[in-house]
């Protein structure tokens, strides 16, 4: 199977894959004997088999009922412990421990494309994400669009991106590679095309890429954002910006917090339709 959940490329995805396998194995401990019993009894006690014992009043006793409750309960208690531990270990807001300092990327879900802002580097990209290997990437997410969900299957956890709200997610790639990131939450006509390339490269290649982006001519101002990125578009190609207005992400996050006024604020998607 190429790619996906069973092809983990980072610590989060690896943890999650192992979690899936462990949980399924535990459940099979109950499920397989149960199905074997089902088919065995079905065969043995079929009406055609007159040799089998027939006991129409047989209803079992209390101890057997206790056993019925106890068997699945043991498995579920085991899964509950795993559940509690893994949920805390995999909390998306939790930073990943690493010797390398994390790279922060601000993510804005738009109709229907992903805007990535690298605040420390002062650059931005659309539908393209590049980051160094073995370095935690700390995503801070919001949306200027209907609720969307940010997911790179090979790297692990997904998280919602919502207007007027901010979520966080830390991911890391163990080695270099190129993966497809996507939106998993229906958010309008361009939903299926809301994919991006996530590229994990060596630190040197990342520096070189940064330099090349810095040298390009596009700049992302609030005006550029409002006129080019905000209007809905489908299957948008990837693009890069050599500089970005420092407060752009906060402006996007805060724009839904304004008090209601008699006139709708400018640049609200859908208002002009």
């Amino acid at each position: 199977m190429p790619g996906g959940v069973f092809d983990p490329q980072g610590p989060i995805a690896l943890y999650e894959r192992n979690l899936i396998i462990l949980a399924v194995a535990l459940m099979l401990l109950v499920a397989i004997p149960m199905l074997i019993l089902l088919y065995t009894f079905a065969w043995k006690y079929r009406a055609g088999n007159k040799k089998a014992k027939y006991d129409p009043e047989h209803v079992g006793g209390a101890w057997r009922q206790l056993l019925w409750w106890a068997i699945p309960a043991v498995i579920i208690v085991a899964i509950a412990i795993i559940n509690w531990q893994s949920t805390h270990a995999l909390d998306p807001f939790k930073p990943i421990a690493s010797n390398n300092p994390p790279l922060t990327v601000e993510v804005v879900a738009l109709q229907w494309k992903w805007l990535f802002i690298y605040p420390a580097q002062g650059i931005a990209t659309v539908n393209f994400l590049e980051f160094p290997e073995q370095t935690p990437v700390h995503f801070i997410l919001t949306a200027d669009a209907p609720m969307s969900s940010f997911w790179i299957p090979e790297l692990g956890s997904q998280i919602y991106a919502m207007s007027a709200m901010q979520t966080q997610l830390s991911l890391e790639a163990s080695s270099t590679g190129e993966y497809i990131g996507k939106d998993t939450e229906i958010n309008g006509a361009g939903y299926a095309g809301m994919t991006f390339t996530a590229k994990s490269v060596s630190q040197n290649d990342f520096n070189a890429w940064l330099a090349s982006v810095k040298n390009s001519s596009n700049t992302l101002t609030l005006a550029e954002y409002n006129s080019v990125l905000l209007p809905p578009s489908t299957y948008a190609p990837s693009s890069t910006y050599s500089s970005v207005d420092p407060g752009l992400y906060d402006t996007i996050l805060m724009k839904y917090m304004i008090p209601p006024t008699s006139t709708p604020p400018a640049n609200m998607p859908g208002m002009t339709m």
């Binding site: 996906g4 079929r46 009406a47 019925w68 956890s157 006509a189």
Partner: protein, 667 residues
């Protein structure tokens, strides 16, 4: 002035796309043909008097099942359209019918999966279960009617109004909601969905949701108050128990749905800000509220099926159900727990590890009572004499599928795993496994099992078993690829994907599976046709065709409209089985003294009331204020008129009952 009369309606609302023209044509031509046939055979009066205005739960039950079957075809057609798009809309493949890829544009595709989900949940599964409960619950508890016959009729007609309303957009408007079956805001807000599709969605749910709520109240009161002498709660048949639990969930959960969707409409109509992203609204609130209804809803759909399978396993194993008390406890546990797990539908919202883990663990706990039920069914087969009739085959299929679907469910309840599976096709495969194996197979098993009681003859067994095999093979072929696709990272609701993803072979395999299931459905239709034609060979003259155990079999088949000439008594579980053991059945050995029977009269008021509510809803969608006012006043007037009608019951004299009974048993 024009706006006052027509609201937002314009010429543009009339059908102009191929699918709206096609559907509108089908609706009109089909309607005219049906009406012509009825007129030709002069059946209008009969339909109106014997069926539409009836308050007899058996007739209402049959009408529910007919309507749900029609909607199953409608929802199934949606499924096939989804499959076709997903099989061909890949890479640089050409588009047809004006679509950029495949044959549907994104918005149209999204409308189809939205209506597929809503129709299958609200109008197919709910409809079938209300039908079966209407048919069987009164019989199982030895009642002649429900507690509130008029309310029952009203619930049914509101359901019909909702079913018609969800198809209205074909004729007027041309668009349905494209926002998924729960239409989460902000996508469903006016800002992102300015058309009337979401309003059609809201009001079809208002109509049918109110119907469900009324049905829920009615069944709870009926089961609590109208059981025959001797039938204590712990002697009730398990289908009655599960119906009671399911209906308790309906009463607790459906008001949440009604209010949540109404608030969404306030946002859209009055420009309020309950769930908008602006001006202090909060879409997360909607997501919480809708799943507070939505999770109990899935248990509303599967719990009655647990009851049906309990009856079937006991009957066809010729044995008492194993661990009755345990079964009842398990169902009650599931009922209570289903209200404490809603957040597992959105672990990925970032609520924090403590909250996620709590809801995850609560969800896992539901697997315990569910597994107990399966153990008890298997233990019921132990030392039984199992007859593998069609209903029993569906039971075997149910346990086989449900076990794996349940495992997938427990897996999804672990937030860490859910982070990698949420909104993927794995999730889609999981809930289809649960709903098809439990709810749908339960419905098919139940209909086959109780068919002779209602219609007086059995369904053809051979064709029934063939239909079962097509269903189960088709299910594996169509949903195994979806589990795999989910693990590959394929998200749900894709109207297009790139060739490099490698999804296409799996989607095509799934599509072949859908075709096999469709063949299964055709086989079921064929089964009914053949069975009706050969009914003389399969007559049930005993009233007890399967060697049954519970009271519904203690009367003639087809059931007389007064259910029981003399009400039976129940001094134990499996009351009918004990009756037979004591030699009080067949009836020839029972001494029966006939009595006057009081039943409720027909009334058309439920139809008028639903009609007015329909008009109100239509006005609400198109902003036609006078129509809303008319609908509202009409509804209130109907309620008032009905409230002052004292003459709602009639009496069948004992002599009449005796005559009919003699006739029924002569066959």
């Amino acid at each position: 002035m024009t706006h006052f009369i027509l609201g937002d309606l314009t010429w543009a609302a009339l059908p102009h796309a191929w699918y709206t023209i096609g559907a509108t044509g089908t609706i009109f031509v089909g309607g005219i043909v049906v009406m012509a046939v009825i007129t030709y055979y002069k059946k209008w009066k009969w339909l109106w008097k014997e069926w539409f205005t009836s308050t007899d739960p058996k007739k209402i039950g049959i009408m529910y099942i007919v309507m749900a079957s029609v909607m199953l075809f409608r929802g199934g057609l949606d499924a096939m359209m989804i499959w076709l798009q997903q099989s061909i809309s890949v890479g640089n493949a050409p588009g047809y019918l004006g679509a950029p890829s495949g044959y549907l544009d994104a918005s149209h595709f999204q409308q189809i999966f939205t209506s597929h989900g809503d129709i299958m949940v609200f109008f197919v599964t709910m409809g079938f279960f209300f039908g079966l409960m209407n048919l069987i619950v009164p019989l199982q508890i030895g009642a002649r009617d429900l507690a509130f016959p008029f309310l029952n009729s009203l619930g049914f007609w509101l359901y019909v109004a909702g079913a018609v309303f969800i198809n209205m957009f074909f004729v007027i408007g041309g668009e349905f909601a494209a926002s998924g079956w729960l239409s989460l805001p902000p996508l469903s807000e006016i800002m992102y969905s300015p058309g009337t599709g979401v309003d059609y969605w809201i009001w079809s749910l208002q109509l049918s949701g109110l119907g469900s709520l009324l049905g829920g109240i009615n069944f709870i009161v009926t089961i609590i108050k109208m059981r025959v002498k001797g039938m204590t709660l712990m002697k009730m048949p398990l289908f009655t128990w599960t119906s009671l639990c399911s209906m308790a969930l309906v009463v607790a959960a459906f008001p949440v749905l009604t209010i949540t969707t109404l608030l969404l409409w306030y946002d859209r109509f009055f420009g309020m800000h309950f769930f908008t992203t602006t001006a202090g609204g909060n879409p997360m609130l909607y997501v919480n509220l809708i799943w507070m209804w939505g999770h109990p809803e899935v248990y509303i759909l599967v719990i009655p099926a647990f009851g049906i399978f309990s009856e079937i396993v006991a009957t066809f194993s010729g044995k008492k159900i194993f661990g009755y008390v345990s079964m009842v406890c398990a169902v009650i546990c599931i009922t209570l727990l289903s209200f404490m797990v809603w957040l597992h539908h959105f672990f990925t919202m970032g609520a924090g590890a403590d909250v996620d883990a709590f809801f995850g663990i609560m969800t896992g706990i539901i697997a315990i009572p569910t597994a107990v039920q399966i153990f008890n069914w298997i233990a019921t087969m132990f030392r039984g004499r199992i007859r593998f009739t069609t209903p029993m085959m569906y039971f075997m299929g149910f346990v086989s599928l449900f076990t794996f679907g349940g495992m997938a469910g427990v897996l999804l309840s672990i937030p860490g795993a859910d982070f990698e599976l949420h909104n993927s096709l794995f999730l889609v495969a999981h809930f289809h496994t649960m709903i098809v194996s439990a709810a749908l197979f339960g419905i098919f098993a139940g209909i086959t099992y109780w068919f002779p009681k209602i219609m007086g003859f059995k369904l053809n067994e051979k064709i029934g078993r063939r239909a079962f095999w097509l269903w189960i093979v088709g299910f594996f072929v169509s949903f195994t690829p979806l589990y795999i696709l989910g693990f590959m990272g394929a998200t749900r609701r894709l109207d297009y994907y790139a060739t490099a993803t490698g999804y296409q072979p799996f989607f095509i395999t799934a599509g072949i599976g859908v075709c096999i299931i469709a063949a299964g459905v055709l086989m079921q239709v064929w089964q009914v046709v053949v069975s009706v034609r050969e009914r003389k060979d399969n007559m049930d003259t005993t009233g007890d065709p399967w060697d049954g155990r519970t009271l519904e079999w203690a009367t003639s088949s087809p059931v007389p409209f007064y259910d029981f000439a003399k009400k039976p008594e129940a001094d134990s579980r499996d009351a009918f089985w004990e009756m037979k053991k004591r030699g009080e059945w067949p009836r020839a050995t029972a001494r029966t003294e006939y009595e006057d029977i009081e039943l409720s009269k027909n009334t058309g008021m439920a139809i008028y009331l639903s009609g007015f509510f329909f008009l109100f809803s239509f006005g609400a969608v198109w902003h036609i204020i006078w129509l809303m006012a008319l609908g509202f006043v009409g509804c209130i007037a109907c309620v008032i008129i009905r409230s002052f009608d004292d003459d709602t019951e009639y009496v069948i004299p004992a002599a009449e009952v005796e005559k009919m009974e003699t006739l029924a048993w002569k066959k």
